[in-house]
């Protein structure tokens, strides 16, 4: 009973927050509301029994996206707290609202017609032992549907290339005053949080085989540490990519493609892991993916193409 009440409250709050985010004319309010929306989404995923998605949502949806939106807001207002940026009414808002409404109705209709998902879930659970890992989510992502994940990683790399292309090679980077990097408190926080983020990252990567976790969550946590280092000016983004930066961005995709093609050498099928080496290969792919995801997300946040040690 209490649980049902809690879920109902959560669902209502989500809808209300979504509505407030959309209709808010104050940009800062909209950003804050959107971040709270992300945090409540984390609770929703946890209540739905999907801790993997909850972790990813917490790290990417609520964490990195929030930092990105606030950074964008600051760029818009030019660091002036009295400058309130109001959203102007766009003539496109009604057509857009109608389109979104149609999309929503389409999604509802599709969801309604979908067969109950038990069949697929049961198949995965029945065959998870063959996948080399015990966590069914990792089994699906890296083994049963490895093809999807491979393309996803390629999409992430393409997104970074898009950021690089739009920024131009000589974008002004890191010249703005950011976090008050001289403060003793910032120093203490960086010293404590960054090693802890690295620890959590390795744990999530290792735990992915048998518990919620995996490359995306681990990479996002490490990227959080990278964003902190960038804001505290310990990492200085550069406008030109170095060889090591390119290597870090691409190593995940390279390793994944190499592991995917390896079976072709002895006449196997693409992405079919050889018997007995499945777990080791999945871990290898996930470790490489973690590095690439973390580096790509941090670069996307800073708009840079590589990093060097900052001034502090």
């Amino acid at each position: 009973m209490t649980a049902t009440l809690f879920d109902a409250l959560l669902a209502l709050l989500l809808v209300w927050l979504g509505w407030r985010t959309v209709v808010s004319t104050n940009l800062f309010n909209a950003v804050v509301l959107f971040v709270i929306f992300g945090l409540l989404m984390v609770l929703c995923w946890a209540r739905l029994g999907a801790p993997d998605v909850a972790l990813a949502e917490a790290a990417i949806g609520a964490g990195l996206t929030a930092a990105l939106l606030l950074e964008a807001y600051r760029d818009l207002t030019g660091n002036d707290p009295h400058h309130v940026h109001d959203v102007e009414d766009s003539p496109l808002r009604w057509p857009l609202a109608a389109l979104c409404g149609l999309l929503f109705l389409g999604l509802v209709a599709t969801g309604w017609q979908l067969a109950p998902p038990t069949e697929l879930g049961e198949t995965v659970h029945a065959r998870v032992a063959e996948s080399g890992v015990e966590n069914p989510v990792t089994a699906v992502l890296l083994n049963f549907r490895g093809y999807d994940t491979l393309l996803e990683v390629a999409v992430l790399m393409l997104a970074l290339l898009g950021v690089w292309a739009t920024n131009g090679p000589h974008a002004t980077l890191g010249s703005r005053q950011t976090l008050d990097p001289d403060s003793a408190l910032i120093d203490a926080m960086v010293r404590l949080l960054v090693p802890m983020a690295a620890l959590v990252c390795s744990y999530l990567l290792w735990a992915g085989a048998h518990a919620p976790g995996g490359a995306f969550q681990a990479g996002a946590v490490l990227a959080g540490a990278g964003v902190l280092l960038h804001l505290a000016e310990r990492l200085q983004p550069l406008g030109t990519a170095s060889t090591s930066s390119r290597a870090l961005v691409t190593v995940g995709l390279f390793v994944f493609v190499a592991v995917a093609c390896y079976p072709l050498v002895y006449g196997g099928r693409l992405l079919a892991y050889p018997d007995g080496q499945t777990k080791a290969l999945i871990f290898l792919v996930e470790a490489a993916l973690t590095v690439s995801i973390a580096h790509s997300l941090t670069l996307m946040f800073s708009g840079g193409r590589a990093f060097q040690r900052g001034r502090r």
Partner: protein, 104 residues
């Protein structure tokens, strides 16, 4: 022993309710207090204590063990993040010329 058990669990619930009370007080202060600095003061103090009590209550009710250390860690991390962000917000407000009596 049943009486002792009941006493033990009622204490656990007491921590949880007290913690929620501190959160409530902090939130009321955030809405009602007049300026940035008193709001920050009330919010961070009350929420830190509230979270500590809730973590204590959870560890109390779930039994002492490895997860108790996790609750402790959660509280310590929140203390760290809370004090640093409070400091940053206050410093930013001060530098942008907000006085102690100015509305935020």
């Amino acid at each position: 022993m049943a009486v002792l058990d009941a006493f033990y669990h009622s204490l656990g619930w007491l921590w949880l309710v007290l913690g929620a009370g501190f959160f409530l007080a902090g939130t009321v202060a955030l809405i009602r207090f007049p300026d940035v600095y008193s709001r920050l003061h009330a919010l961070t103090k009350a929420d830190n204590l509230g979270l500590g009590l809730i973590c204590l209550g959870m560890a109390w009710e779930l039994g002492w063990g490895r997860q108790s250390l996790k609750f402790l860690l959660i509280w310590l991390l929140a203390l760290l993040a809370g004090s640093v962000s409070c400091h940053l917000v206050a410093r930013f407000a001060l530098r942008s010329g907000l006085g102690p009596d100015d509305p935020p």
